[in-house]
Amino acid sequence: MNSRLLKANVAGVLILALILAFLPLVVKDPYILHIFVMIFFYAVYALSWNFLALSGQLSLGHAAFLGLGCYTTALAVKMGFPLGVAVAFAPLIAGLAGLFLGVICVRLREWFLALATLAFSIILEPIFGSWEFAGRRGGIPVPSFFGPGKYLFIQEYYLFFAFFLASSIVLYWLLKGTRLGVAFSAIRQNEFEAELSGINTVRYKLICFIISAFFAGLAGAFYAQYVGRITPKIFSLDYSLMPALIAIVGGCYVSWGPIIGSAIIMVLFEGLKMVPLYGMSVARMIIIGFLLILFVIFAPRGLAPIISRPRFRRGKT
């Protein structure tokens, strides 16, 4: 990324951040703020997915890391650890799971990798669903950060998740600019040539897996805090497909992609809930299905490149 483009990006983020930071002063409706919280959360989650995609690795089982993050916090608290420690555990356990899965999958590519990750997340569902200590299928309640019975206001959650998203994006940029990021995109573009030019592809792919899982786990810890109860459904296919869906709508490999994608998907899902249709959710899913088909055929690279195209022209990249 050249310096001019970077400046444009930073300026864009700052302006957006300012607008979003003052939004709760204007918008008081908790439902709308809830949608924003979900947009922020899914953007972070999709960003962690995107990070793995940077090194050309396709995951359809990211819910495994998200869910492990959620469950780790809840279980650690139940075992008597203080909350700060419990939250810190979440990304560590998720990162370890990432290392484990990465070692298993290191020789797998494309579809094989996607299927193996999917398999991993689906195996976790009955394991947690039949674990007595984790509350079986009913799930486990997640106690509040601030002592029993003290919950944050939706405005505070809003600011918290906004801050979480902003710092994740900054971190994403920083990591992308380092040797790591360069190595990842080299591996993505041509793994064989990357190996030839002296990149230890196995090691870098593992690192990428660990970092991605780490962030998904952290997002899970905060998500658990927000929803208050975790059930084994967190490992289901819906949660795994979401970040990939967001990436394909928003655009892969660009930091803007997950944010734009997440905003569009959430607004679309919530907006269609308000349309009075026969058979409500059924009709909604048919519309979403058709939109997805059209989208895949006519907007192959997602919306982020389309939206930011004029800037690319001026910026002589």
Binding site: E110, I122, V282
Partner: protein
Amino acid sequence: MIGGSIIIQVLVWGIILGCIYALAASGFSLIFGVTKVINLAHGELIMIGGYVSFWLAVLTGLNPYLFIPLAVAVSSVISIVFYSLGFHKIMGAEKLREAFLAIGFTYVIENMAVLMWKEDTRVVPSPYRQQFIVVGGFNLGVDQLITIAGTAIVLLAFFFFIMKTKWGKMARAVSQNREAAMMIGVNVVRIDMLTFAVSGAMAGVGGALLGVILYLNPYMGLGLTIMAFTIVVFGGMGSILGAVVGAIILGIAQQYAVFFLGGEWSYAVAFALLILILVLRPQGLFGGGG
């Protein structure tokens, strides 16, 4: 202590499930082999095939096995639509786009099925429901025997088609080298379409049989697709024999898992076997090369 006869009964159920899986997986494998598309909407064709025979059998009150040809026709037409309106337009694109195109199709078909037939679980009424044949001391349902025989016939016809006919030869040529096949005058697009039609037809048979011996549900498609995919990777990408053997193995494993551990473990066990095979033998049971 669990009696030996129950163990064998579960084994038979596993083989039956394996038959349905074999029909699903060999069609899935054929599409992958020829067009390199991973058709994640493949399971929807099975679901639709099952509902077509259910619908007609209930409406007319006739024997549901009479409607298998119609189920085949509907499933293969929908499969051709998948290809010509969808996959054909994004051939050779990123794999992720293919996946989401198929998921778009899945949402549309699945929810249209809910609109037409409601969310309830249905069973196709069969006139042979209570009839059994005693084989070596065990009761085998007539429907189960029909499923096994029907699967065997369809798979043999499929082998014959791929190995002996001119169209099968062309399909194999395309699967080996697309450009070269094009150069010697094979109409690749027509072969692709044929491939989708054949695999849709097999899915239709699978669905019609599945509806009689198990049950139908509008949301069953994606699970079947994932199982077909798992089986194809398990048995070895591109190997039809691997798909059939893998289907039987995973079908049996799943039924035992359901019997001993409970229903929620059925997918987990299949996937545990998949991960095991990916670690020990990444090319799959019958896959050649690396």
